[in-house]
Symmetry: C2
Subunit: 151 residues, 2 copies
DNA sequence: TCATAAATAGAAATCATTTTCATTTAAAAT
DNA sequence: ATTTTAAATGAAAATGATTTCTATTTATGA
């Protein structure tokens, strides 16, 4: 098990390798995701950063999340209501996976269960399409929300 | 096989039954979907209506598409780039189905092939979620675009 | 320490969608 | 057929997520 400190070091190294400058805000953003372990919207991250920085713009958050996705430390997932979520993907490197979201608290989890390949050919035959990609979006109630009312 | 004329009559009847007034614009909107048989964005529909009506606002299209979905003559599907598509669903009444979209021309088709039930329990066990719904989103190249270059 | 390219703030732009409100209209009541 | 009235509409403005622009600031390599 890697410590949170080691994780931060690790992510910092990735920033350097990708020639991204190491700014306090970037460290705070990574920190946020490492600590929470959850998926969050740019707005969520912004709210968190405002506690620690007098000046912090929402565009900065958007820009950095986008860059972090590009270099592979965050994963971008389409969530509820046309909003995008970012998070550190738990599934190992690029392994095919899908997402499940909680309808109450909007929590987002990864899982690597999928049986799409069994269907692919049948769908191609029926629709005439040549299939390139697929996403399975699953919604339900997460463990926490099943117990405790709303959140 | 029902004629397009009969279809229009049928949809008109549904409007009446749902206490929606029969306006020329509503008829034109239904007409559009019956004729084209495709999924389209509110904007697409608006462009079409502008040819026949001097005054036609985009909000009117949005409002009507929303109502038509509510009473069941149209299906709303999330498509590419945060846009929603509406169309007359080919799959019979409320039968479980999914959607496939063309990455080139954004065409959208329904298909009723799905093997999610085989996975459900496994995902619930792994994530702790109680699953309520799922969507399979498939992307590829449609028959037309496979042949003829771009569109 | 300095030079410079990258990062940032703040404001404004975008773009799909929704709301508001005054006007028009379909259809129910007369 | 005419009146009544609730629903439908147009036009403008609001919304909300996201992006772009530009001037200023800052991390970092020389």
């Amino acid at each position: 098990m890697i410590s949170i400190y080691d994780k931060k070091v690790k992510y910092t190294r990735i920033l350097k390798r990708n020639k991204l400058k190491l700014t306090p805000k970037r460290i705070a953003i990574i920190d946020y995701f490492v600590k929470s372990g959850k998926y969050a919207t740019p707005f969520d991250v912004w709210i968190y950063l405002k506690k620690n920085f007098k000046k912090i713009g929402l565009p900065t958050v958007y820009r950095n999340l986008e860059k972090f996705e590009k270099i592979g430390i965050l994963t971008k997932v389409e969530g509820e209501e046309n909003r995008f979520y970012y998070g550190i993907c738990k599934i190992k490197k690029k392994k095919h996976h899908h997402h499940i979201t909680c309808s109450f608290c909007h929590k987002l989890l990864d899982f690597d269960i999928c049986n799409f390949e069994d269907l692919k050919e049948e769908i191609e035959k029926k629709t005439g399409f040549s299939i390139k990609e697929h996403y399975l979006i699953v919604k339900g109630i997460c463990k926490d929300c099943q117990k405790g009312g709303e959140i």
